[in-house]
């Protein structure tokens, strides 16, 4: 049976209902303030449209949110992702400008930098037992410094069609960043579901001590998730760098860690660790990006941006809170009775 009722109950069981409702509501607002925004056009073999814009712009946050989900599922957190974006971008840009390396190698180098950063975080957390927020705070501060050091404080710009493709290219009508998100999402789903990694991650997050007793390699799991988060952040950094064809070590990914964490939480994952959902984290990222876009389209003066953002966040969270739902239901009952 696949009636609308059963779809709704399936979504509800997976915690997907309310995030999707929130996304739908924001899109509704966008349609109201700008009816033409979601119109699709096809031009030069590329599909244009508001939805694609939102996907495209939301890609860095979505990529990071995927990695962040895994880290959060183990009960950790990664504040360094913005700085890792900067490092990866700086590494790539400097290699493009300074060497003749082929683009795939440059991309690998950028990812390698992210992996190294992730491993550093993972070692501090898993190896030395430093609290995740502090361990990654270190790289949040120092990492951007490293990126600036590489760039000498300037934006390193470059002309490189092949590399720019990562950020602005089109494949089968869709922008490259959208493909990257889909690819990483699919890969991560595959890796976590088709191996025992997903189970181990949730077990470690839910009760690290019991997992250790059960023989789960707790440290290795933690190291792995930070490494993945580093890779995701690096990829996001490459996308952002390719997007403007320049590595802006000072500003790329500034405060993106907060957006990514927000995305994960809006997707229903608890910061205490345990259960997580990668798909919903991406939905969370789309919600945030849609909100940003809606604010721009609405024409409300920018000084109200943050107030609006906070109001929407609280509304979305309340929408998901079982307590608020119960209150709403009882209110409705009182009204109808």
């Amino acid at each position: 049976m696949t009636g609308p009722k059963s779809i709704i109950s399936t979504l509800q069981r997976h915690g997907a209902l309310w995030p999707l409702v929130a996304l739908g509501l924001i899109w509704l607002v966008i349609i109201i303030v700008n009816p033409g925004f979601f119109a699709f056009t096809i031009q030069d073999g590329r599909v244009f449209g508001g939805v694609i814009d939102i996907f495209n712009r939301g890609a860095p946050v979505a990529l990071i949110a995927i990695g962040m989900s895994l880290v959060i599922a183990t009960g950790g957190i990664d504040l360094s992702v913005g700085a890792v974006m900067a490092i990866a971008g700086a590494v790539a840009a400097n290699l493009i400008v300074g060497t003749d390396l082929p683009v795939p190698l440059i991309i690998l180098a950028g990812l390698g930098a992210g992996l190294a950063a992730g491993l550093l975080n993972g070692t501090l957390v898993a190896g030395f037992g430093i609290q995740p927020i502090v361990a990654t705070l270190i790289l949040l501060v120092a990492g951007r410094g490293v990126a600036q050091l590489l760039n000498d404080g300037q934006i390193i710009t470059f002309q490189n069609e092949a590399f720019a493709f990562v950020g602005v290219g089109t494949l089968l009508g869709l922008p490259m960043p959208v493909w990257l998100v889909l690819f990483v999402l699919a890969a991560m789903l595959l890796i976590t579901r088709r191996t025992a990694l997903g189970l181990f991650i949730e077990a470690v997050g839910a009760n690290a001590s019991a997992s250790h007793y059960a023989g789960v390699p707790v440290r290795a799991i933690k190291l792995t998730v930070y490494a993945i988060a580093g890779l995701c952040a690096a990829l996001a950094g490459l996308v952002a760098t390719a997007d403007i064809q320049g590595a802006d070590a000072n500003n790329v990914g500034l405060w993106i860690e907060l957006d990514a964490i927000l995305a994960v939480v809006i997707g229903g994952t608890s910061l205490m660790g345990g259960r997580y959902s990668l798909v919903l984290a991406v939905v969370g990222a789309l919600i945030i990006q849609s909100l940003n876009t809606a604010v721009v389209l609405s024409g409300i003066p920018p000084k109200f941006n943050l107030v609006i953002k906070s109001a929407v966040i609280v509304a979305v969270l309340m929408l998901q809170s079982p307590v608020a739902q119960a209150q709403l239901a009882s209110l409705r009952r009182r009204f109808t009775a």
């Binding site: 403007i244 000072n250 500003n251």
Partner: protein
């Protein structure tokens, strides 16, 4: 090493320099220009990066005072809030030079001189140029700097002041792009999606970075920036000259990063006992495509 605050002239001069941070390429150029200038003059420069926080700057200034430097140069994060710490510097007999942004101070004995640019005037210059170029008939989209930043507020004020005189000139969409290239591109993209690009006459960006981001967005949308849509911005970083030379943007107002020289001149004059003007203006010019290639050569050569 440090001298007493009375500073014997033959001692090496020690100057504390409190910089805002390193939030943009322009800021870094500014820092490097001051450092280079100090090196050339044999000044021992104590540099402190405040990472965009006024409290860090105040801390740094107080450390400089405790250290007994001969003079202090401050590029303030924000205009207000300097009276207490400058009073302390004055009490310690250390001259203070304000560079770049202004400080709101009633008592001008608290500082030696200001080597300053005028953000409002920069906005006016950009506005005047655009109005001349378009005959005062222009639907403008604006890329604002960080909400609350002095540079953003003042440049907006100056620009709006000018276009207020032209009934056909109007800002049709405005949004903050945080002074960054990436956000400039993103916001411009949304603008282009939200309205018919043909209805946009010009982009007015509070700094070059956002303008450069907008240029990328326009190109990707199949628009020819500089021709279809005019682009005017502020700062005059090297990259914008390249863009102008390529015909992608139209004009920029210079915000000179070379404020170290006049600042040190003033300090040295003061220590020699000479009197110093309270304001040393370093207002920059407006550059257009004509001289762009040449300027680019000049600025990247050094």
């Amino acid at each position: 090493g440090s001298g007493s605050s009375e500073g014997a002239a033959n001692d090496q001069l020690t100057v504390g320099f409190s910089q805002v941070g390193s939030e943009s390429g322009w800021r870094t150029s500014f820092t490097q220009a001051v450092q280079a200038e100090a090196r050339d003059r044999g000044i021992d420069l104590k540099f402190s990066d405040a990472q965009q926080k006024q409290e860090n700057q105040i801390r740094a200034v107080r450390s400089f005072i405790a250290q007994g430097v001969d003079a202090i140069v401050i590029a303030p994060v924000v205009e207000t809030g300097w009276k207490p710490v400058l009073t302390e510097a004055k009490r310690a007999g250390i001259p203070v030079v304000i560079v770049d942004r202004n400080m709101a101070l009633k008592d001008d004995s608290l500082y030696l001189t200001r080597v300053a640019s005028d953000f409002v005037e920069e906005g006016r210059k950009a506005g005047r140029w655009l109005m001349e170029e378009t005959g005062g008939d222009c639907d403008i989209v604006e890329l604002q700097g960080t909400v609350g930043a002095t540079a953003a507020i003042d440049r907006m004020t100056g620009f709006n002041e000018v276009i207020a005189n032209y009934p056909d000139a109007e800002i049709v969409m405005t949004q903050t792009a945080d002074f960054t290239r990436a956000r400039g591109k993103e916001i411009m993209e949304t603008f282009l999606r939200a309205m018919d690009p043909a209805d946009i006459c010009a982009v007015w960006a509070h700094n070059d970075e956002m303008a450069l981001g907008a240029v990328i967005a326009m190109k990707e949308a199949g628009i020819d920036p500089g021709d279809d849509i005019l682009v005017v911005s502020v700062d005059a970083v090297p990259d914008i000259f390249k863009a102008m030379a390529d015909g992608d943007t139209n004009a920029t107002v210079e915000l000179s990063p070379h404020m170290g020289g006049p600042a040190f001149d003033a300090i040295e004059a003061h220590l020699r006992g000479e009197s110093v003007d309270k304001l040393i203006s370093v207002n920059g010019d407006l550059f257009t495509q004509e001289t762009a290639a040449e300027e680019y050569q000049k600025r990247t050569a050094g």
